[in-house]
């Protein structure tokens, strides 16, 4: 088994991208990643495509994108892990290289949600869980599932509306600086508090938007990476977990068990101190599909103890300069959440952070340890992927 490095990154503008189709959107990211890595398509021996689809027309996105980007005839597959499909695609390509089967592989994440009207998208995402026992009879929606967590968390730990607002305000603060972000504008607490409820206690401004976008990374084995670049970003460790389809089969709605498990795997593999992992990590991207999810992520990643994630938010400890900067690219909330692209987008954002290549100085974290962490959750804690990126070669 070999070490695996990111040697090239690509990221499209996120937003309502009706100016392109699915494969054109993917190409924007793929082209950038190829150019950055300085590799040809024929060098890519395997590529995975994270895409949930159903709202977009192509049922076989991997081959449509393969053809358009001239990646055919290398092996491929479309990967689905709901909102963590991007991380699942990253995992596919990572394992292909790690196992020694491919020297160079590419992970692509792409989603074009605006091929269907918003109500249709609401309908389809609401069905993600257990279709029959949650949606068919009770019409849960994606914000609804996370609202069930928010209600329980508020009840147990005294979380206030304003605490959630802090997360939204921070996301938009950094999103305003990110040229790739869907929403490049700041919001105020007042605007947040006035925004309309979508699934009580969650409001519109607690929610990530319906977004189109693509991201891609080129991965290479240690031997090959050293030929292409002087500044590889290593995938030091990855942890994975899953949760029950039915939320009713869970007992605690203040934590995402799958994410806790994935984080512990990563910390163990990278020998990171579980009591204070933030001391060894410089920056993190967490899955803030809804503001409550970011607060729970602080705890699941052990950046704060159980029930104290809201304190990190209140004290603004996750801005640059605080305990640990989180979502300084705007997060899902402001950067946007093109479901299948998000996990790969996190890898791109964090690789660039580690190399001091954030698109704007105001969103560049200080890199002392050379480590960044991505936390990508699919569904409502149905899938979890936690990935640690490092500028230091693993094993050194």
């Amino acid at each position: 088994m070999t070490n695996v490095a990111i040697i090239g990154t690509g990221h499209s503008k996120f937003g309502s991208r009706t100016d392109v189709n699915l494969q054109e959107l993917a190409w924007e990211a793929v082209k950038q990643a190829l150019e950055e890595a300085n590799v040809e398509q024929k060098d890519i021996q395997y590529f995975s495509v994270g895409n949930v689809g159903t709202w977009s027309a192509e049922p076989l996105p991997a081959v449509v994108i393969g053809e358009y980007c001239n990646l055919t005839p290398s092996g491929t597959m479309r990967v689905e892990a709901a909102c963590a499909s991007g991380s699942a695609a990253l995992r596919e390509a990572y394992l292909a290289v790690k196992s020694g089967e491919a020297d160079i592989a590419m992970a692509i994440g792409v989603e074009q949600m605006h091929q269907s009207p918003n109500p249709t998208v609401v309908e389809m995402i609401g069905r993600a869980g257990n279709y029959f026992w949650e949606f068919e009879n009770f019409g849960l929606t994606f914000p609804g599932y996370y609202a069930l967590y928010a209600t329980a968390y508020m009840n147990r730990y005294g979380l206030k509306e304003e605490d959630l607002g802090k997360i939204a305000v921070k996301a938009h603060h950094y999103g305003a600086m990110n040229p790739y972000a869907h929403f490049q504008k700041e919001i105020t607490m007042e605007e947040y508090l006035k925004s309309r409820p979508v699934a009580w206690p969650l409001k519109l401004l607690d929610s990530s938007p319906i977004t189109d976008g693509a991201a891609a990374v080129v991965l290479a084995s240690e031997e090959v990476a050293n030929k292409y670049t002087d500044s590889p970003v290593w995938i030091e460790a990855q942890g994975v977990g899953s949760g029950t389809a039915n939320l009713s089969r869970r007992t605690d709605f203040t934590t995402i068990e799958a994410a806790r498990m994935a984080a512990e795997q990563v910390y163990r593999r990278a020998k990171i101190n579980m009591d204070s992992p933030w001391k060894e990590i410089d920056v993190a991207d967490v899955h803030d599909c809804f503001t409550i999810a970011e607060i729970i992520a602080y705890e699941d990643l052990r950046f704060a103890r159980r029930g104290e994630g809201l304190t990190l938010a209140r004290e603004e400890q996750t801005y640059i300069g605080g305990r640990i900067p989180v979502n300084v690219d705007g997060g899902l909330k402001a950067k946007g959440h093109p479901i299948g692209a998000t996990g790969v987008s996190m890898a791109v954002s964090l690789a660039r952070q580690l190399l001091y290549r954030a698109p704007n100085k105001g969103m560049q974290a200080e890199i002392r340890n050379g480590r960044a962490l991505a936390h990508n959750v699919g569904g409502t804690g149905h899938y979890a992927y936690v990935t640690l990126f490092s500028t230091r070669r693993p094993g050194l």
């Binding site: 309502s16 009706t18 309908e123 609804g144 309309r196 979508v198 699934a199």
Partner: protein
Amino acid sequence: MISDVRDAKQKEIAEVLKQLDMLTKMTGLPVYPEPKTGNPLWSDVRELDLRYQIPVKRISKFFDELKKGKVLATRCNKCGTVYFPPQDDCPKCRTSNLEWKEVQGEGELLTYTVISVKPPSFAHYPDYVVGIARFGDVSVTAWVEGPREKLRVGSKVRLDVSKREPEGYITYRLILL
């Protein structure tokens, strides 16, 4: 009546299709500018009507008893695990044909939400409360009904089987006590 809800939806669809047909007739293509951006969009001319047929044979007793007003879970004889939603296989013991057990008595509301932005297929209902309640060994997800002032985490609830209107099919709900 559910037929009224369906008719209204079909009417909306028919209106959009009529406009599309007119456009195609005028320009020769189903391409129109997106109102916000002016980006040309090809409007799909092929339809896909999705209505899944889900097999329920293995848990048909659940529906038979639901008709009699009871909500049933299944229980594994060997390890005692109770399953809700009901399932006829215990993957832990690899046994099948589990026994049936009624979910009854007082439950405790673990969490809830009020759905304001609804999926189109639920748009004909007023805002509804969805909660998860614990009844001993199992939890049940369902709509929560009853006085709103009693709605909070920890509230006592009971299961009630009744018809969901306007569809008119039998389902269960949680009633605040």
